[in-house]
């Protein structure tokens, strides 16, 4: 009898002990004692393939983390698939990741339409869908979509920053807007118009759009100049930003030129457009520009270059996207470190939403990443900067969109 009781006791203790020793993470798909499986989609083919470097750089960053011993002893197993920026393909590839490869979480899936296509699915499946690579606003909606989270400052916030600048600094502003005819362009435009508020009707004199397949935007620039605008809100990707800067310089149009962050690279936009023509451009920054000479001797920049050379030698050193990937991957690593041994999907989400004053080397000094259960927008600070012919000179205070 005594023996029986003892055996029973032992069994009981054993079970309880096992249950406590094995955290919930043990049951999370994609998580073992030695690895965490992470899924991603990126366009490696098709018209948006320029972004594909992000997906490759993420892999290179995880390789570095694994070389350093992984996260709490677990190596990252990073699986990335090509979706060619086509929403139906994204759905297929994400289902492959979640249902077949059994990843623990989805990280940095790229594109607004592509992420929109899987938004509902990910939240239905309750799989973390975090730090997505798009600047749309809808990823910050913890109430309705508690499994999805953005990362970069969203386009609307940035649009609002420019609007405030115009209201404060330009007398008798007459604004001309050029934007890409898609979600990205429209989000910037909306933020900008919202920021102008009542004044928008009076201030905005002409809006022009272009398609990403258009060869040139000369015609739009001519119209904008002709509208008499003295402020030019330029919402274009680098290819068209180069043309816009060049063309407005050529035809002698000298407005206050607000250039969206998307095209703020010296190497890919300003230099091809001509440094002289680029003088006076204003943009909002949150990262260190890798082609900006002011960072040439910065430790963070040098570390980044060293990492690129060692882990991603085929990547371009003048591509800001590679610094972007480097920073966002570091954010994920921090969140996973915070998870400790509890790698349940709930806890991964909880930790992603518990980043406090995280500063990353390649972000501008002072920019801090903060998230909470009600704030799914990690970066909400930006800094205005003016191009002085050589570097982006920051001016004014750090603008924090979370504090209104």
């Amino acid at each position: 009898m005594n023996v029986m009781r003892r055996v029973l006791m032992l069994l009981l203790v054993g079970t309880v002990g096992l249950a406590t020793a094995l955290p919930a993470g043990a049951q999370t798909p994609g998580v073992t004692s030695t690895e965490i499986k992470i899924g991603n989609t990126n366009p490696y083919s098709g018209p948006a393939s320029a972004y594909g470097t992000i997906g490759k750089a993420l892999g290179a960053y995880f390789k570095k983390i694994n070389d350093e011993g992984g996260i709490n002893g677990r190596k990252i197993n990073y699986i990335t698939y090509d979706d060619s920026y086509a929403p139906p393909k994204t759905v297929e590839m994400v289902r492959r990741l979640v249902e077949q490869d059994q990843v623990a979480l989805l990280f940095q899936t790229l594109g607004t339409p592509t992420n929109s296509a899987i938004h509902k699915y990910m939240n239905g499946k309750q799989v973390p869908h975090i730090f997505v690579a798009t600047g749309a606003t809808k990823w910050n909606d913890p109430k309705n979509f508690p499994w999805t989270m953005g990362w970069q400052p969203n386009y609307q916030i940035e649009g609002r920053i420019y609007a405030q600048y115009v209201l404060k600094n330009v007398k008798d502003a007459k604004v001309g807007i050029l934007y890409q005819n898609d979600d990205y362009g429209k989000d910037y435009r909306k933020g900008f118009l919202d920021g102008l508020g009542e004044a928008a009707k009076r201030v905005v004199v002409l809006e022009q759009t272009y398609e990403v397949t258009d060869p040139t935007i000369d015609s739009q620039i001519v119209n904008l100049k002709n509208s008499g605008a003295n402020v030019f809100f330029n919402v274009t990707i680098p290819k068209f930003a180069v043309q816009a800067i060049k063309k407005s310089h050529d035809i002698g149009w000298k407005p206050v030129h607000l250039l969206n962050n998307v095209s703020s690279s010296l190497g890919t936009t300003l230099k091809p457009a001509g440094l002289e023509a680029s003088k006076g451009l204003i943009t909002a920054l949150y990262m260190k520009e890798v082609t900006d000479p002011q960072w040439k001797n910065d430790k963070a920049y040098l570390d980044w270059v060293a990492w690129m050379k060692k882990y991603y030698p085929e990547g371009a050193l003048d591509d800001q996207a590679n610094a972007y990937a480097y920073s966002v991957a570091a954010t994920l690593v921090q969140a996973l470190k915070q998870c400790g041994n509890d790698l349940s999907r709930q806890n991964i989400m909880k930790q992603a939403a518990s980043l406090k004053n995280l500063e990353l080397p390649m972000l501008l000094p002072g920019i801090k990443i903060n998230t909470s259960a009600t704030d799914f927008a990690p970066i909400e600070q930006e800094q205005l900067a003016k191009f002085n012919g050589e570097i982006w000179q920051v001016f004014g205070e750090l603008i924090d969109a979370s504090k209104k």
């Binding site: 759009t209 015609s219 001519v222 002698g252 001509g274």
Partner: protein
């Protein structure tokens, strides 16, 4: 009025871009009876070759002609290795092969040179030219002049040289041509080479405007198709004029038709082309091709 003229002039400049690639498309169609979907990507690839040479310090005009020569060779090689084996396949199968070439060129260019855009120099002065109230980029003028020179060469080639005549014969009636002693497969090869060479010229003229990247020619090729369709695939002059008409029409629609604005300007331009085709089913200047029944 100034704005109207300025829009027309910038439309002509943009149209010149379309026209330059359209000429290569017309060339290959004339010579081989095939529409080559890879034409734009081959041009982009050649432009990268030029970029690499310039980067290595080769002077511009040496690079220019060397690239044209290289592109010509590339065209010959592609015809010999990729197109010749499917020569007798149905026309659509050949079209699929050119689509294969399109994606291969695009992907390999991205792989070798990365997708980051690169500035490409213009041989023309950077100062814009003022003509009264109108301002034109010097490169735009240069680019259009080059396109016109290519057009003249093409015209002279097909009209006056025996090779040009033989090439047209070979494309339209291979069997009879063979019987009359024309070496048809050599003609096809030459057609690919020349089209690739013209494409390279187009690439090097376009890249300073749109900057060099692997997807540089995607949008332009669409417009070049539109230009060649409008002008007629059998007429080099028509293709150039077609390009300019498309460029100007698009600008004017975007500027003056307010309720459409810039958001639908491509759609309107395409609609115009379709309407023109309904009146002239082979384009404005295309010849009817008489097929044997």
């Amino acid at each position: 009025m100034d704005i109207f003229l300025q829009q027309v002039v910038s439309g002509i400049a943009t149209g010149g871009i379309y026209a330059s690639l359209a000429l290569a498309l017309v060339m290959i169609y004339q010579a081989t009876d095939v529409v080559n979907f890879a034409q734009g990507e081959m041009a982009m690839f050649s432009t990268y070759l030029a970029w690499s040479m310039l980067n290595a310090g080769v002077p511009y005009w040496v690079t220019f002609f060397a690239t044209v020569a290289l592109a010509f060779l590339l065209g010959l090689v592609i015809e010999r290795l990729v197109i010749r084996p499917v020569e007798s396949a149905p026309i659509l199968s050949i079209v699929i092969v050119t689509l294969g070439l399109l994606v291969i060129h695009n992907s390999i260019a991205g792989w070798i040179w990365s997708y980051i855009q690169k500035p490409f120099p213009s041989p023309f002065p950077s100062r814009p030219v003022h003509m009264g109230p109108i301002i034109v980029g010097a490169h735009d003028i240069g680019e259009i002049s080059v396109t016109l020179i290519v057009l003249l060469l093409l015209f002279a080639f097909f009209r006056y040289t025996p090779v040009g005549l033989a090439m047209r014969a070979a494309a339209h009636n291979p069997v009879s041509s063979r019987l009359s002693g024309i070496r048809v497969s050599r003609m096809l090869m030459l057609g690919w080479g020349l089209a690739a060479a013209f494409g390279a010229v187009a690439g090097m003229m376009v890249a300073p405007i749109v900057t060099l990247e692997p997807n540089m020619m995607g949008g332009i090729q669409i417009y070049a198709f539109a230009a060649a369709t409008l002008g007629g695939f059998t007429s080099p002059g028509g293709a150039v004029l077609g390009g300019i008409i498309v460029g100007v029409a698009e600008n004017l629609v975007g500027t003056y038709v307010r309720f459409i604005g810039t958001e639908l300007k491509l759609t309107v331009a395409l609609a115009i082309i379709i309407i023109v085709l309904l009146v002239r089913p082979r384009g404005l200047f295309g010849r009817a091709v008489v097929r044997r029944v």
